[in-house]
Every structure is written in structure tokens, then in C-alpha cells.
């Protein structure tokens, strides 16, 4: 439980020495309570104070790292139940379940290379396969080694303790995640994880025994634990996920303060959706097609966006369709939601165009204009930086219908030869605007294709 300012104050020396930079110990204590300062700034803090504050500030959900190197993934360390309370911090890792049985080494490597090469850019994030969950079979030692060699974090979906031991021993330097089979006696697996210093998944048929099992594994020397929630059906899974998060935040049982692991079978995208929205930290997926992964990556991106700051696009000139120098040039703000709506509607219009995304500090057009972030001067400067003049021969820029007021300033700032055209207020009117306003105008300008 976090300490209050007054509780912290009682632990401080109460000398008001100002060495921390604050006028009184009480002020400093308040800053500590708000998480805005670190105790290290107090040179005279007693060991007791450090211990008490350290324990209180330990995250309610431990962080766990799987893998080593560039692609290692750390999950956990969450602090809230609702994302709007603060934010969700560490997005869940999405692992590809891989059964190497019956594959030749070449076939196996081809699959792993394919997964490693996947990179999909979306709204400032690169989607990739975060790890490989290797199903234990006769071929699995080689497969796990091949996956680790490619930098993938590996989860070992164990069938037998000896089999899992053989794999884990070989790749222990890569910090694999050990996943015992459902219903297995956890003692042997916990001993293995403790001996190799690798993370372990703990499962149980109900929440109370799950918490106890995690506590027992910790006592057996396993430092990094993930919980596999009881989840025979969607209702039970949702209950388990919600109860684990709530129990962890309320610190009702030390065994609940761990990230959650979820295995999703083929054709079970709904289960993965539930997991990603409701607090799962590592999700292993049997399906390997983009039709499953793309929606899940996107969902994760949405849910783990920090609601405290507006999502922003990188400013720049974006192509909608395949525009040429006669295509219309639209300008909008870099608020992601605005960008997505405008680009979606522009695309739906069937007219290829250039979309200039101006740095408006992530505000919507009207808000940005009110705050002076979408002035004629700023838009003109942005268009010059994007070299818009070289991209369109008509030198006409279409501005959002909410800010006709910047027309004059923008035209002046852009200089000779530029025209400003006031576009529609709503993105949904872009198609009729292209048809009824841009079309005839483009013909007049002699630029219609």
C-alpha cells in the first residue's frame, strides 16, 4: 500500500535542512507521496525509512523479463485497473506458438525467418512477433535453439519435465519462459526454474490455489513468475483476469502480484481480445495469419496508448492512394484521431491526395487553432518544410472548414502563387467536397487529370 505524505514525514529526520531542495521535510514528504521525488535526495534518511519506503513503493505487480538482447520483453509493473486512472504501462508480448514436429531444419528455419522478418508500421509503432512459444516435441531442442539464435524470446510449452529440462538447459542464457503442462505437479518445474534462474508460468484450477502455487514457487526460489488464470470459458477467464488484477492492486495475497500468461488456441481471437484488454501480459497465439495478428496488435496499441497524452502522428506529407502533382493537397493536425478520420474518409473518396500533417502538438484542429498551434504561419512553415510546393503543381492547399479564419494569413505566409481553399468541416464531407468543389476547380486550373 503506498504511504501517505504524513506517514512518510514521520520517517524523515524532521530537521528541515533543505538539502533535498525543499524548504521543509513535510514538503519533501508530500512530493515523495505523489511519486514526484526520490528518497535519495535526502542524505540523512535512516535505513528504516529507506526500507519502509522501498517496500511501499514496490510495484503491486512485479516486472518479468523474458529473453535477452534487443528483443527481450519486460512485462508487468502495472498499477491500475482502469487505463484512464493513469495508464497501462507494459504492453503484452504476443508470442507465436510453434510446433516444430515433422519439419525439416530448413522448413523450421524458413518459418522462423519469416516471423523474424515481419515488421508492420502503424501509427508510430512497429508491430512484430514478440517471441516464439515452442511446443515440446522431439524436435524442440533444435527449434528452441534456432529461435533463440534469431534473437526471439522463447517460451517452452512443456509436455514433460525431462523434455523441458533438456530445452531449458540449452537456452538458459537466453532467459526462456518455462510453461508447465496444464495440471502438472509444479514442484519439479519450480526447482528447474529456480536452478536456471528463468521465469516460470504457474497455473491452477482456481484462484486461491493459483495464488498459493505462485507463493510456493517464490518460496522454492523462483524470482520471476507469471500466472496462468483459470479460464475454461470466457466468463471464467474474464472473472479470473479481473480478480487477479484487483487482488494484486489491493495486495490481498502475495501470490497475485505477478503478470498473467495466456495461451490462445486456433480460431480463438475473442479469447485474445479478452486477454489484451483485461490485463494479460504474455499471450501465446496458435494462429499465425495476419488476419488474427493485425487486429490484436492494433488492439494492444489502442489499449496501451497513454490516455494522459494525446496520440500524435509524425508530422509530414502523407500519400493517400497514389497521388501525383495534380492531386489535391489537404492539411490537418497531427492529432492521431483527426488524422485517422481524415485519411480514412479521403481514402474512401477514391480520389488520391496529399495529406499534410502539421505539428499541432497532438491537438484537434479547432483546439490547436485556439491555442495558436494551427495558425497560418505555422501551417505555412510546415508546408515549406515538407516541400509541398514541389509536390503539387497547382499550389492550392485545402484547409479544414473549422478554420477559414487562417486563410488570409496562410496565403500571405506561403507567398505568391499559392491559393487557400476552405474545405469541409467534417471529414465525412471530403468526398462530396472533392466532387463538387475540387473537381470543377481543378478543371478550371487545368490540373484535372
Amino acid at each position: 500500500m503506498p504511504l501517505t505524505g504524513l506517514q512518510i514525514f514521520k520517517l524523515l529526520p524532521n530537521t528541515n535542512c533543505k538539502k533535498c531542495g525543499y524548504p521543509t521535510c513535510l514538503t519533501f514528504a508530500m512530493k515523495l507521496a505523489a511519486g514526484k521525488e526520490a528518497l535519495e535526495k535526502c542524505p540523512d534518511a535512516s535505513p528504516e525509512a529507506k526500507a519502509a519506503l522501498g517496500a511501499a513503493s514496490a510495484p503491486p505487480i512485479r516486472g518479468v523479463t523474458v529473453g535477452r538482447g534487443d528483443r527481450a520483453i519486460t512485462v508487468g509493473e502495472e498499477t491500475v485497473f482502469f487505463r484512464h486512472e493513469k495508464t497501462f504501462v507494459r504492453h503484452p508480448g504476443l508470442f507465436q506458438i510453434f510446433d516444430p514436429a515433422g519439419l525439416t531444419a530448413a522448413e523450421r528455419d524458413a518459418k522462423l525467418d519469416h516471423w523474424r522478418a515481419i515488421r508492420i508500421e502503424r501509427a508510430g509503432e512497429t508491430f512484430q512477433v514478440d517471441g516464439i512459444a515452442v511446443v515440446e516435441t522431439a524436435e524442440s531442442v533444435a527449434a528452441a535453439v534456432a529461435a533463440s539464435d534469431r534473437g526471439f524470446p522463447v517460451a517452452i510449452l512443456a509436455a514433460t519435465l525431462p523434455g523441458a529440462t533438456a530445452i531449458a538447459e540449452r537456452i538458459k542464457e537466453h532467459r526462456p519462459l518455462l510453461v508447465p503442462p496444464a495440471g502438472a505437479n509444479l514442484e519439479g518445474y519450480a526447482a528447474l526454474a529456480a536452478r536456471l534462474g528463468i521465469p516460470l508460468v504457474v497455473g491452477a484450477p482456481d484462484l486461491a490455489s493459483l495464488a498459493d502455487a505462485a507463493r510456493d514457487a517464490a518460496r522454492a526460489g523462483v524470482t520471476d513468475i507469471l500466472l496462468e488464470p483459470p479460464g475454461a470459458d470466457p466468463r471464467l477467464l474474464h472473472h479470473s483476469l479481473s480478480a487477479i488484477r484487483r487482488g494484486a492492486l489491493d495486495r490481498i495475497h502475495p501470490g497475485l502480484g505477478h503478470p498473467v500468461f495466456l495461451c490462445v488456441g486456433a480460431g480463438e481471437i475473442e479469447k485474445a481480445v479478452l486477454g489484451i484488454t483485461k490485463f494479460a501480459s504474455l499471450v501465446a497465439l496458435a494462429d499465425c495469419g495476419g488476419e488474427t495478428w493485425l487486429p490484436l496488435w492494433t488492439l494492444r496499441q489502442n489499449i496501451y496508448t497513454d490516455p494522459q497524452k494525446p496520440l500524435q502522428m509524425d508530422p509530414g506529407l502523407y500519400a493517400i492512394g497514389e497521388p501525383n502533382d495534380r492531386s489535391p493537397l489537404l492539411v490537418t493536425s497531427n492529432f492521431s484521431l483527426t488524422y485517422f478520420i481524415v485519411s480514412t474518409e479521403a481514402e474512401a473518396s477514391g480520389v488520391a491526395c496529399h495529406l499534410a500533417v502539421v505539428d499541432a502538438e497532438g491537438l484537434s484542429v479547432l483546439t490547436a487553432w485556439s491555442a495558436g498551434k494551427f495558425s497560418g504561419d505555422r501551417v505555412a512553415k510546415a508546408l515549406r518544410e515538407m516541400k509541398a510546393a514541389e509536390r503539387v503543381s497547382h499550389h492550392t492547399v485545402i484547409i479544414p472548414g473549422y478554420v477559414p479564419v487562417i486563410s488570409g494569413e496562410l496565403e500571405d505566409a506561403l507567398g505568391d502563387g499559392w491559393h487557400v481553399l476552405v474545405g469541409p468541416q467534417e471529414a465525412s464531407d471530403i468526398a462530396p467536397f472533392f466532387r463538387d468543389v475540387w473537381g470543377p476547380l481543378a478543371r478550371d486550373l487545368g490540373t484535372h487529370p
Partner: protein, 336 residues
């Protein structure tokens, strides 16, 4: 060591709103006194209701994968309605009068009312009727529909903070429910409900449409606003405790990711499955955040979401004390 997981109790609960009257088989939604789907600690008299969207004219912008199940009935609302209820098992329908939009056919209020009338003849489920969008035309169209279909308990979509008086008046006058639409903002949603209440609209006949952002296109904003609205409702805010309706299909199928063919983006996988997954993920996520009515376009999405909800609410229809069949699937199963 036993687990001391205390159930969360709340001061407030959602209002219960009954959609459909007159010749309709009513569907009630809302009434729950806990967080969405938290059946382990709260009571939910009704399961979330699943609607399918049908249109007055051929929705030419719908991509092929979502047009396919409706082949032969697009732009024929009565036939589409029959298929939606008898074959696809929709609990209710959203009739989107898109053809009344000045840019999409400019159909008259009389034609719109006739279209809705034909749907009422064809099926007995409740209807949400969506106009062409904000503006004068919206009001004339929906007012005419409301008058001609008096007593059927339609849900008129939608009143907004800027323009609610006409629809508030006709909803009250002709016995309809009203959807209040606000732009992903808790305070605006509350303000609109206050305005509606001041206009003599019974908030037990109001649904909140908080504006749906589709997956990848603002879903997270809708998600958090809906969670906050639900928390306010459970905290006892009588101006925010109306059930929420989400127009999921419209937003999900608008996404680029639902439209791009597989040969253009090989890493994106099958276009058809991708589109359905886009709608399933949007719908499931928003139900978790508190949607009590979701409007879908693809019948396969409806089927998949219904199977999920069966896990919480059982596959048997439940009966409330008036003996109203709640979101029955059984009636439709007979037609299969």
C-alpha cells in the same frame, strides 16, 4: 491461504430501457448493478443486445466481404430485415436511412417512413432508426418516421447537444425512445441527458451513443469514456446511467484494414477474416467497456459475439417478470 476477494458493491445501477412497443416483441437492456460482464459480483437482468444494420438503399461503399451475406437484399429493407432476424438471429435492427442524405439519393421523409413501415411489417423485433446525420434533413426525416410509426417504441438515432429539441418532442409525442449522441466526452454525454430530461424526455427511454471509435481508429477513446460513464452510473449519477449503444459495424468496416485485399498487403492475411475479426474485436472490447446494445454488419460477427455472451448469460432466453422474452434466440432458431 484463502483469498479474500470482496465483491464490489455500488450505490447505483443502470437504468433499464425497453426497446420496442406496439406490434414489437420488446427487448429490454441495462439494469445491471456492476461493472460490465462482472456477473461474479453483480446482477444483470439483461444481456447485451445484438443488432444488425440494414439500409434503405444499396450501401455501395460497403466492402464485398460484408455485402456478401446480404446478397440480393441490399437496398430492399424489408427483405434484409427478414434475413437479419430469421436467418441471422438479430435481437433488434438498426434501419439506417442513408438514402435520405442529400448526397446519397436525397430520398424524401415520406419514402423513409414507408421504408420503416415495410420493415415493421416484415419483422417483429424493435428498431433503431438512424437518420441521414446532423442537420435539418435529419429532423424532418425522423419526425415523419416517428409520426407514421407511432407507438412502436422505435429508438430514434440521434439527438445531439446542438440539435435535440425536435427529436425530443417527437419521441415524447409518439412514444419512442431516443439515442443521445455525444462526441466521446463524459461531460457532453451528461449535459445532453440533462437537456433531454429538461425537455420532458423520460431518461428510462434514452440510450447513450458515446460515438464509437473503431479498432485502430480511436477505439481506446470510446473504451475509456464508456468505462468512465459506467463508473459514474454505478456511483449514482442519474444523468449518466442510461445504457450505451455502439455503432460497431459502421466503424469497424470503415477501417482501411477491413478493406485492403490480401494481395496488396500479404502480411495482413485473408481480407474476409480480417474484416470480421476487426468487427469482432471492436464489438467485444466495447462490450467489456459497457456497451449494452451493439450494432453489427456481418452476421458471422453477431454469431461469434452471441456465443461469447452465452458464456456469461446462458444460451436460454431469460424472462423478466412481465413475461417478455429477453433477446430471445429461440424464436429465430425455429427458422433455421
Amino acid at each position: 491461504m484463502s483469498l479474500d476477494l470482496k465483491p464490489k458493491k455500488w450505490a447505483g445501477a443502470l437504468r433499464e430501457v425497453t426497446l420496442g412497443a406496439g406490434s414489437r416483441r420488446p427487448v429490454a437492456v441495462g439494469g445491471g448493478n456492476g461493472l460490465p460482464l462482472h456477473t461474479f459480483e453483480a446482477a444483470f437482468p439483461h444481456r447485451p443486445a445484438l443488432a444488425l444494420e440494414i439500409t434503405d438503399v444499396d450501401p455501395v461503399r460497403w466492402v464485398e466481404s460484408v455485402r456478401q451475406p446480404w446478397e440480393g437484399v441490399l437496398g430492399r429493407p424489408a427483405e434484409a430485415a427478414r434475413r437479419a432476424v430469421a436467418d441471422f438471429g438479430a435481437d433488434l435492427l438498426l434501419v439506417h436511412l442513408m438514402g435520405t442524405h442529400t448526397d446519397r439519393g436525397n430520398r424524401s421523409p415520406e419514402q423513409a417512413a414507408a421504408d420503416v413501415g415495410a420493415v415493421l411489417e416484415a419483422v417483429n423485433v424493435p428498431l433503431i432508426v438512424k437518420g441521414p446525420g446532423a442537420g435539418q434533413k435529419q429532423n424532418t426525416v425522423l419526425a415523419r418516421v416517428a409520426e407514421d410509426c407511432r407507438g412502436e417504441g422505435l429508438a430514434l438515432h440521434s439527438a445531439t447537444n446542438e440539435d435535440y429539441k425536435t427529436l425530443a418532442a417527437v419521441a415524447v409525442a409518439y412514444g419512442h425512445a431516443l439515442v443521445g449522441e455525444s462526441p466521446i466526452d463524459v461531460n457532453m454525454a451528461k449535459q445532453l441527458n440533462i437537456l433531454l430530461a429538461d425537455s420532458n424526455v423520460d431518461l428510462n427511454r434514452v440510450l447513450i451513443d458515446p460515438l464509437t471509435g473503431g479498432l485502430g481508429y480511436g477505439l481506446e477513446y470510446s473504451y475509456s469514456v464508456m468505462e468512465r460513464i459506467r463508473l459514474a452510473a454505478l456511483g449514482g449519477d442519474a444523468m449518466l446511467n442510461c445504457p450505451i449503444v455502439c455503432l460497431v459495424g459502421e466503424e469497424a468496416w470503415k477501417a482501411k484494414e477491413a478493406k485492403v485485399p490480401a494481395d496488396k498487403e500479404p502480411l495482413w492475411g485473408s481480407q474476409r477474416e480480417r474484416g470480421i475479426h476487426w468487427e469482432v474485436a471492436t464489438a467485444m472490447t466495447l462490450i467489456e467497456a459497457g456497451a449494452e446494445v451493439v450494432v453489427l454488419r456481418h452476421p458471422e460477427t453477431l454469431d461469434r459475439i452471441r456465443k461469447q455472451l452465452d458464456s456469461w448469460f446462458g444460451s436460454e432466453p431469460s424472462h423478466d417478470r412481465e413475461g417478455v422474452v429477453q433477446n430471445s434466440f429461440r424464436a429465430t432458431d425455429e427458422h433455421r
